[in-house]
Subunit: 545 residues, 2 copies
């Protein structure tokens, strides 16, 4: 039996576009003599439309395009995910996979385990199914599971979250192949974790396992593709591309060598995720060109590199916006960086605007405080970068990192401007290691000077980040323990040997500056817990250690 | 039997503060010879801490303060809600009510129906309970339910969402009194709906019903208090204050006249909700003073009135920021409004800053387009208003309305700046009716000229909102049908007799400008579906009608 695995990159709720993909790959599957073609979870609408699901036109479109899929199944049998209205009690919809054959929708499987943590809100929309589905086709019995259905085994970090294990139930029904149809969001530690988990499942049940995943980015959420076939020893025998749309064929009778999962280079995973995130965001909103403020610092340098590899150098513009406090070095370093990347570069002094504000505002609002002057500079840059957007239909990329976002070391409506926060889930220490890795792999793109200089916002004379913040390795250790691992203040001190006052200070900053993150752009998620999508609390709250 | 109903206004996750309230009202209950004192849902931490629940220090604090509550129960028996760790399978916590007596936690009731729609995300945190709890105290049997537990009866709009009806089960166990311990978020149509629902439940079971609700605002979510006792005919016999903290005592043997629920004036409900939202937001973040841009238009005029009634005139500053396109009338009207309100007023011309940008920027970014010039003005205002914030520790209130937010008729980082969107859930047509109502009730505070003039952003000569948007009554009808009622384009046309092209245009604007709303401040919710908290979808999506 030959199975076509169509790892598509849909546009959410764009039924026309998604159906064109489904049509294309169904025809390709036929060409490649496949007996079945499968698509990722909720492929008809793309994972996940969030509250658009509630709109009547969403379900109306679903019904229209389901008819087209039925027609298409005259070519080749299809397994395809879509949203089904729940006519009974409970939540208004089901997350289902339909089996289409000979012009008919022959069976509907309803997803049984609905994730409702981190970026997932499936219980907002869906009611659980409670039946297994083993598809009999060409003498093969394929046990169907949908994404989270595969994550309540003993090999999973979320084991025990649900009362049933759909994989086990399906296996007990005597399937020959286990199929997991997913839209599984990326974070860099998950890739290996997921592969070893599915490897262990295949090995445990001594059955081949097919994992199919969505590819591409949806706002800040990246689906890494990585569709994969495991043999009954848990070895990987076939694999689709990572992050990109792909189509592979697996012949169930094929005997491959196979190999067990291996860990990938973290920096490569993160870099590829970030470029995918930028590329898909820009493409899917129908834009082409981006720009960003180039400060001469490492954050904007990294984002410039990501933008270039995502969109091509001709679509990226760096804008230097020096103020009276910008160092000569910063300009020189930005020029060098832009030269290395081959991107366009523009310089717009903010000094004339800053000076007129500085001279005239005090009569109205009093002598400008230090913080006021600093924020005015950042906001003038924001204003100019957005004016560039308006004037040239170019999208502004935000260049703030996760450490800054965590402790509010950023100006709301200033350097927090932008349509997409490219590295808002990358700690400052990871920014450095990504930069080093990029230079190692691509040659010295990021000037050494940028990597070596002490981080500074350059908003007042001689300012260094370290005047206001602990050293980044210390800060990031606290942040990771607190945000991703939910450690208590006492635990962090004990584990890391840090001073309690320091830990308290950092955590109180994380809490205090939630109001800035509430107005941050979407953040590309690369860790197990990203701001905006995975960590939120009321502004008017106060938790003490 | 005498029951003390302590309708408190907690600060989320501020255990120390909340416990001080619990202590105060427990002592007051004792003074008033109560046999029991009850607090709203999750009162120990305040509803709802969102992801702070996952932090170890959250549960550690809970445990510390539970010990104090036990001690306190030596004074008077207490029913109090808190977060309990789930040591078994499933979600990590339970949403519970504890019965405390004689220094012990004697019983724990676990909330059974967990809402996961609109502003609710309880399935992100909690596992359902599956047992009833009828408390025997002083010869009375009190059937305990927690908030949503009371909303699966035939009188509820969410009837059928869950497989069980905890009220019915509790009633069947033969309780004498039904108790609903809630944190029930406000929207203006809900007040009457909720009262009639509980009235019907009391009547159906022929049992008195006690509804206790949280009071006050948590970011954009307002809890309207309105704790209420219904007799067994469904008549209201006692009622706590609306929106405010309050303490009332109900003697179960007391025979009152009672009356059935009546509908309140909508404008009054909305106005009181908005003032509560502003007051609590400012108080709970520890601030005192606010300022806002006064444009001479009706939106900022309304927000100025709300701010004054929320915080007192001495804490409100209106800042006029005229540009070359501001009309004389706008200044005059703002001066009159500020005079009527007795608030402080400042004028900061943006013209000098605008002129220097207009003359120097084109050499860098090309001739300024119309939209660029307009947004520069809005962003200069944002910059100056934020500079005022930094310089004077005053909080900027956002003045945009729901109609604008819906169709993106607002400048991101410009007039979308602010810590709190005061009227971001109020349609423009409701802004007018609120203004008229205010003038009717408080005398003519808002100058007639402001109400009468055609709406304009005044960002270019002679500009009127109606040049770019349909008339507001038409726009708002489409928006309400689409956003709150999820109607399809075809249904809206049919129902309202509007042109399909117009409806399509409006809905495509709602979709297109989600990217702005993703960076909007928290919005005070007053309708059944507010942006930010209750309606969200990916920016990179496209749903056609």
């Amino acid at each position: 039996m030959r199975i076509g695995i169509a790892q598509i990159n849909p546009i959410v709720a764009n039924f026309e576009y998604n159906f064109s993909k489904i049509e294309k790959f169904t025809k390709l599957a036929k060409e490649k003599q496949c007996d079945l073609v499968i698509f990722p979870e909720l492929s008809l609408c793309g994972y996940i439309p969030e509250d658009l699901i509630f709109q009547k036109d969403f379900i109306a479109n679903t019904e229209i395009y389901l008819e087209k899929v039925k027609q298409l199944s005259n070519i080749t049998p299809i397994l395809l995910g879509f949203v089904l209205k729940n006519e009974g009690k409970g939540k208004p919809f089901f997350n289902v996979v339909g089996f289409f054959q000979n012009g008919r929708l022959e069976h509907i499987y309803k997803k049984r385990l609905l994730p409702n943590y981190d970026v997932f809100n499936e219980k907002r929309y869906f009611e659980e199914g409670n039946e297994t589905f083993v598809l009999n086709l060409k003498g093969k019995k394929i046990g169907i599971t949908v994404c989270e259905d595969g994550w309540n085994t003993e090999f999973s970090p979320s084991y025990g979250l649900y009362p049933v294990d759909p994989v086990e139930e399906t296996a007990k029904e005597g399937c020959d192949i286990i199929l997991n149809i997913a839209a599984s969001p990326f974070y860099y530690k998950k890739v290996y974790l997921r592969e070893t988990m599915f490897s262990s499942i295949a090995k445990k049940y001594k059955k081949p396992l097919v994992f199919i995943n969505q590819a591409g980015g949806v706002d800040g959420i990246i689906f890494d593709g990585d569709s994969c076939i495991f043999d009954c020893e848990g070895k990987i025998v076939k694999k689709a591309k990572r992050f990109e749309e792909d189509f592979i064929v697996w012949d169930t009778e094929e005997i491959g060598e196979g190999s067990f999962p291996v860990e990938e280079n973290e920096n490569k995973l993160i870099f590829d995720a970030l470029t995918t995130g930028v590329r898909d965001f820009i493409n899917k909103i129908g834009a082409k060109k981006v720009h960003l403020g180039l400060s001469g610092g490492i954050d904007s340098a990294l984002v410039a590199v990501i933008a270039k590899y995502a969109l091509g150098r001709e679509n990226v513009l760096g804008i230097m916006l020096p103020s009276p406090y910008s160092s000569e070095g910063s300009i020189k370093d930005s020029v060098k960086l832009a030269g290395n990347l081959g991107i366009n570069l523009e310089k717009i002094e903010i000094t004339p605007y800053f000076e007129v504000l500085k001279s005239q505002l005090p009569s109205k609002i009093g002598d400008l405080k230090d913080i006021t002057e600093q924020n005015i500079q950042a906001r003038l840059r924001g204003l100019i970068l957005m004016a560039y957007s308006n004037n040239n239909y170019s999208i502004l990329l935000n260049t703030g990192n996760k450490s800054e976002l965590a402790v509010g070391y950023a100006t709301l409506y200033g350097d927090m401007c932008g349509a997409l926060s490219v590295i808002g889930d990358v700690y400052k220490t990871s920014v450095y290691s990504l930069a080093e890795w990029i230079n190692y792999v691509y040659g010295e793109i990021i000037p050494k000077e940028i990597i070596k200089k002490p981080p500074s916002a350059e908003l007042k004379p001689g300012q260094k980040d370290q005047d206001s913040l602990p050293p980044y390795p210390v800060l990031d250790a606290i942040l990771e323990d607190y945000i991703e691992n939910c450690k208590s203040e006492a635990e962090i001190c004990e584990r890391r040997g840090f001073d309690i006052k320091l830990v308290e200070k950092v955590i109180s900053m994380v809490q205090k500056y939630e109001f800035k993150r509430k107005q941050a752009p979407p953040v590309i998620k690369i860790t197990s817990k990203a701001f905006v999508s995975g960590f939120r609390f009321p502004i008017t709250s106060k938790l003490k250690g």
